[in-house]
Symmetry: C2
Subunit: 289 residues, 2 copies
């Protein structure tokens, strides 16, 4: 029986707890400052016990599943306290602030920086999903900074959850994620805001939201305590991606204003290429077990 403590029992912490529990070989303790979330996770059976932070030394695994703004200081606190055999990994959506913060810590090699690209727009332990990580790309940043045996055990744990592992530089990770994930969330939040502002009569949204709106606005349901820290911690990359997005919208606006059908169509045909790439993703997800 391996002992695990999970700090942060939201969607991500709750989902990994749920999956590890199902695998059978883990005794799982949970920590959450939010007492409602902690009690929920216990009642739902995702964790066996609730403990306090001074109990982390005692475990084979410490999993950090808190919002990204708490990660760097929490990682240092945990690395300060742990036994030499303990493995620590996080599940944060940005990696460079964390990797920078622990860079010179004497126990740096006991930490593995992990980002499973998985989630939903829902939050809290009751939103935890069985098999959330199955077939999902899971990125490990700066693998050479982790102890090889601890890295290998972490990879095995994630593979047992069904994840596909990919290594990446932390700086490159944060930049790519700004474009591919964080910008999508901002675009969706602002689309929701724009529609809510004009459609004072909600029945109109209710009635007219047919094809298209639901999928583009789905991410506007995402949890602010998760996403505000991501936008702030990764602000340099996000501001750059957002500026390019706004510039593209303004150019498209100009073409509509000028009634330039030919140029509008040419740009849309370029964008259609995204479809082929996504079809490749679907194929890849289908092929890899």
């Amino acid at each position: 029986m391996e002992k695990v403590v999970i700090i942060g029992l939201g969607l991500m912490g709750g989902s990994i707890a749920r999956d590890l529990k199902k695998l059978g070989n883990y005794h799982i303790c949970g920590i959450d400052q939010n007492k409602t979330h902690a009690q929920e996770a216990l009642q739902l059976g995702w964790v066996d016990d609730l403990v306090s932070i001074d109990k982390v030394a005692d475990n084979h695994w410490v999993i950090l599943a808190v919002p990204v703004n708490y990660l760097p200081s929490l990682a240092i606190e945990v690395l300060d306290r742990i036994h030499k055999d303990t493995i620590v990994f996080d599940m944060g959506s940005i990696k460079n602030p964390l990797c920078n913060a622990v860079k010179n810590h004497p126990n740096r090699s006991q930490l593995v920086a992990v980002h499973p690209i998985a989630g939903t727009e829902n939050s809290g332990p009751s939103a935890a999903i069985h098999h959330l990580f199955k077939k999902k790309l899971t990125i490990i940043c700066e693998p050479t900074s982790s102890c090889p045996q601890k890295l290998e055990k972490t990879i095995q744990l994630w593979k047992s959850l069904g994840a596909r592992i990919h290594f990446m530089d932390a700086v490159a990770h944060d930049k790519h994620l700004a474009y591919v994930s964080h910008l999508s969330h901002i675009s969706s939040f602002m689309l929701g805001k724009t529609v809510l502002e004009i459609e004072k009569d909600e029945r109109q949204i209710f009635n007219l939201a047919g094809s298209g709106f639901e999928s583009t606005v789905r991410l506007a349901k995402s949890a602010p305590p998760t996403w505000a820290p991501i936008f702030l911690e990764n602000h340099e990359n996000i501001l750059q991606s957002l500026d390019e997005y706004i510039e593209n919208l303004q150019q498209f606006r100009t073409l509509i204003f000028q009634q330039d059908e030919q140029q509008l169509s040419a740009i849309m045909y370029q964008c259609n290429h995204v479809g082929e790439i996504l079809a490749g993703i679907a194929l890849n997800n289908h092929q890899e077990p």
Copy 2:
């Protein structure tokens, strides 16, 4: 056996052909300038015959399923030619240019202006979907301009396809659709463009496109020959919605730049309200047969 001619055999024309055929009581002829689409629709069995425009007089029903920029002139040409018992309806995403164009036509009362809020990002007759209109909101604009008996028969036909009918003013329709549907498409096209521009190495998109990106960028696969005309014909409403969207993005950008976590969170909590509205839609779709 009622005789139907469908002009435009793309996703929308193909889908209604397919559903009517299944109902059994219709002989369906098709017209499409695109010979590949016409032949495909014939081979797939969505239509019984291909005919030319001078054969429209001969039918009980004429269905206009062409891009919105062709609709006004085509509607006039068809109304000029038809028998007094023929019913004409269109399936266009914007309604005011059409309603304006036919306003003073002597046969105006034979036309019903219909917009089924249904579709996918795919195009052509091979993308036609059985039951595409089932449980979907279908808007009829300016119903009092149509002959009551012809309006009633049109409503019955759409109900036989499973649609839910809603009446609306054409000007209001075009404005609401700009916000709820057309803006979603532009936001998605430009998100695809921004990501394609930065991620020159497509493997990165391929690898990193996890939760979030696929749903927000799905509409970027939509067909330019359908959407360029919609953006141009509805340009006044779309420019207004686009300006408000860009303004919201710029305000959000400023808050990220100023590291104003409190205000960012407050705005995101407002946007979360979209989730409750969409949950209402899902419930409604579930309840109404």
